[in-house]
């Protein structure tokens, strides 16, 4: 498996944990892997991107534009913001959630109404999941990220048992059960 995955969203949505789980999965399938993460102030509700690269040999921790096989977007506007990273024929997985950025809240600009139309212009396959609904049903909003991963793991044909092990290795033991349920609910939507 050689894959470049861009995880995009809003600071606080759990993109970092999602990338750690994917990195752990790379460990379990004996591939080289590099992750580039976002820490610090940019996490406070800002637009965030983490890069996940899995291959036999990885040099740069960054992904070039038009070189991502997959974009996992945790928020719709962020899907569009980073869409120019997708490869022709790649896949963009979008969580159906809107988080309004401050210029929208203050009424300076509108939240775009035509996001899917514009993302469609990048020639990628687009798939949708309502992970927030899953997380709300499970009673823990922090599981949105793992629900998205469950959806993605099916579409990308990841080894299911190894992926569950990767989740187990990456989350605190006390939250493994709820994360596993979020993962399975995500799988069901695929």
């Amino acid at each position: 498996m050689n894959i470049n995955i861009l995880i995009v969203g809003v600071g606080g949505q759990g993109t970092l944990l999602a990338s750690k789980i994917l990195g752990n999965y790379a460990t379990l399938i004996n591939k080289d892997c590099k992750l580039s993460e976002v820490h610090g102030m940019s996490q406070r509700g800002g637009s965030v991107v983490t890069y996940v690269r899995i291959s036999d040999k990885v040099y740069s921790p960054l992904i070039d534009k038009k070189n991502a096989d997959v974009i996992l977007a945790f928020e719709e506007l962020e899907a569009l913001r980073w869409a120019d990273y997708i490869k022709d024929g790649g896949m963009i997985i979008i969580n159906k959630q809107n988080l309004y950025p401050m210029p929208v809240i203050t009424g300076k600009v509108d939240y775009p109404a035509d996001i899917y139309e514009r993302v469609g212009g990048y020639g990628a396959q687009i798939r949708n999941i309502d992970a927030l609904e899953i997380a709300m049903k499970l009673g823990d909003l922090r599981t949105v990220n793992v629900a998205v991963l469950g959806f993605c793991a099916v579409l990308l044909k990841f080894d299911r048992e190894k992926f569950k092990e990767a989740i187990k290795n990456s989350v605190p033991a006390s939250t493994f059960d709820i994360n596993l349920r979020a993962f399975e609910e995500g799988e069901k939507r695929a």
Binding site: G12, T27, G46, R81, M102, V104, G107, K108
Partner: protein, 575 residues
């Protein structure tokens, strides 16, 4: 065993394996995770020091006594720590001292793009630069050996893309190393008579190292078919390998001193030579001053980060696809329920000028609050405000306030406060005490009563401290109480002398298991008052009315307090 580690964690792992006894730091992105990781080992003493100078002095003490020590900081922290460090470069070490410094090209979370490599040059301290996590670990271990062999502190320089990227690291066992403490006045007491002799030793050491560096194999040549040679180090090496697979590469492990003779040999085998480096033309200028003809900054520019994409554009003329989307920007914001929001709302309402400082509360400068008007460095707010008063007088000060966080106040605000009282200032200072170091990820500090290992310790009493510094006007307020905040600020700001207001409420993110009620808005009159709070949980509907996003709201109820029409109420829907 292989582990996928952050560059920061790999430095820590290297220090652990090298038998480090003491690790000290003040948290600073992107260096914070080094000391955090070291604190998980039981056989190492680790601490959050109150600032980088103190951390450096702790590390120096450990090294003098005979225990290997690691001191970590971000680039701007090195400015704070520079004073003891320059002199420790003179004395040399007993057990090894390694300083990990993390630069931030592109300023992901910093106030400038300072290039720490010049500190190697000006302090006469060797500097190594790893290009992935494995090297971060290996170079750290090697740095301790170098430190003792050459009797000098040694730098490990990281950048954000090394510190905050993960790659595989082979884990090894810890090696226990200890040196005896020996009193040595001529070596460790830097009165001028001794320091003059040590300066001679520094130059001897530097000449020896400048020659030896040509034979260290962490500087290596990777051959390629192309006739243009590339010289690079750190993260840039990875971008070069990806962008230019056919080019011969001189990969530097040492960035100070540079292996000039080895580089000269490399140059003689290439038709053209390009230095690819982020930030300043540091390597480029060093080579030019040694008569080696290279190109560099005229191609790569002086700002921001590089990437394989940018290198392809610069060297191969590859066209970078620019983002064509016109989209609403998404700047970072204070969290829903942030304890700082009400303070800035009031500062804005009272039309005050606020001299700010470094922390989450720096976000108060953004729309729609626009209520922080300067930011220079850690701890500057109070002394900046004092300077403003001395330039513009008491009346100006009645419209001016210093804003500083609790951790920042302890870091280097205290001296500014003592200075202001001593020099008969007339200023008002707001200490925003959210009981943590918020921006770097909630590290404890002396005001929290917890150590890095979450052990109980003495809790610094801010009120008593401030009074002991000579401040008589001291008040404590709840920043969620807007009326109290407003009346206390109004009362203090007109007073002569130095006033301190402590706004105290723990950061909303501190309790990760908290479940919140939420606010709800009924019969919105579309006046837009609540939008002035800049709360990410409040959203404006198409018709101009306002709604609350229940997934974000923490029921701080500031919106209820600013709503003139009583349209907001709390609903008990804790999630």
């Amino acid at each position: 065993m292989k582990k996928l580690l952050l560059g920061d964690h790999a430095v820590a792992q290297g220090a652990y394996e090298a038998g480090v006894k003491v690790a000290a730091a003040y948290p600073g992105t992107p260096s914070t995770e080094i000391t955090e990781y070291l604190s998980t080992f039981n056989d190492i003493y680790s601490e959050w020091s109150v600032n980088e100078k103190v951390a450096m002095e702790v590390g120096i003490g450990a090294s003098m006594a005979g225990g290997r020590a690691l001191v970590s900081m971000k680039h701007v922290g090195l400015n704070v720590a520079a004073d003891p460090l320059f002199t420790y470069a003179y004395t040399g070490v007993n057990a090894g001292l390694v300083i990990a410094v993390a630069d931030d090209p592109g300023m992901h979370s910093s106030q400038n793009e300072q290039d720490s490599r010049f500190y190697g040059l000006s302090a006469h301290i060797p500097m190594l630069e790893p290009s992935d996590s494995q090297e971060a670990k290996d170079f750290t271990k090697f740095a301790f050996e170098l430190s003792e062999k050459y009797d000098t502190p040694v730098f490990i320089r990281l950048t954000t893309r090394i510190a905050h990227s993960r790659s595989f690291v082979e884990i090894s066992k810890r090696q226990e190393i200890e040196f005896d403490y020996k009193q040595d006045i001529a070596k460790f007491v830097m009165v001028p008579a001794n320091a003059r002799k040590r300066h001679v030793k520094v130059e001897e050491r530097e000449r020896r190292l400048a020659s030896d560096v040509n034979s260290f194999d962490i500087n290596r040549i990777e051959n390629g078919k192309n006739k243009i040679g590339i010289i690079c180090a750190g993260a840039v090496y990875q971008y070069v390998k990806e962008a230019l697979p056919d080019y011969p590469v001189f990969k530097l492990g040492f960035v100070y001193p540079l292996p000039v003779e080895k580089l000269r040999e490399f140059a003689s085998n290439c038709d053209d030579l390009i230095v690819i480096e982020e930030l300043e033309p540091y390597i480029e200028n060093a080579l030019k001053s040694n008569g080696i003809s290279v190109r560099g900054k005229e191609l790569t520019g002086l700002q921001g980060e590089l990437s394989s994409e940018k290198i392809k554009e610069i060297i191969l003329g590859y066209k970078v696809i620019s983002g064509k989307e016109e989209l609403p920007a998404r700047p970072p914001v204070m969290c829903a329920g942030c304890t700082h929001r009400g303070i800035y709302y009031v500062i804005n309402k009272l039309k005050l000028n606020a001299a700010g400082d470094i922390g989450c509360y720096s976000l108060g400068c953004n729309e729609p609050l626009n209520a922080m008007h300067s930011l220079i460095c850690m701890g500057a707010a109070i002394a900046n405000t004092h300077g403003m008063e001395k330039a513009k007088g008491k009346d100006f000060s009645k419209k001016n306030i210093a804003v500083i966080g609790d951790s920042t106040f302890v870091h280097s605000g205290i001296t500014g406060l003592i200075n202001a009282v001593y020099n008969r200032s007339n200023i008002t200072i707001l200490i925003l005490d959210n009981s943590t170091t918020g921006m770097t990820g909630h590290q404890p500090h002396p005001g929290t009563g917890k150590t890095i290992k979450n052990e109980q310790t003495h809790t610094l009493d801010f009120e008593a401290l401030v009074r002991a510094c000579g401040v008589n006007n001291v008040s404590v307020i709840d920043p969620y109480d807007l009326d109290m905040t407003e009346s206390v600020i109004k009362e203090h700001i007109v007073k002569d002398g130095v006033s301190v207001i402590i706004a105290r409420r723990p950061c909303i993110l501190l309790d990760k298991t908290a479940k919140f009620d939420v606010a709800e808005i009924d019969n919105c009159r579309k006046c837009g008052m609540c939008l002035k709070l800049g709360c990410p949980a409040i959203r404006k509907n198409k018709d101009g009315s306002v709604a609350v996003d229940s997934t974000l709201c923490t029921a701080c109820m500031l919106c209820e307090k600013v709503c003139k029409f009583a349209s907001v109420k709390k609903v008990g829907d804790a999630k």
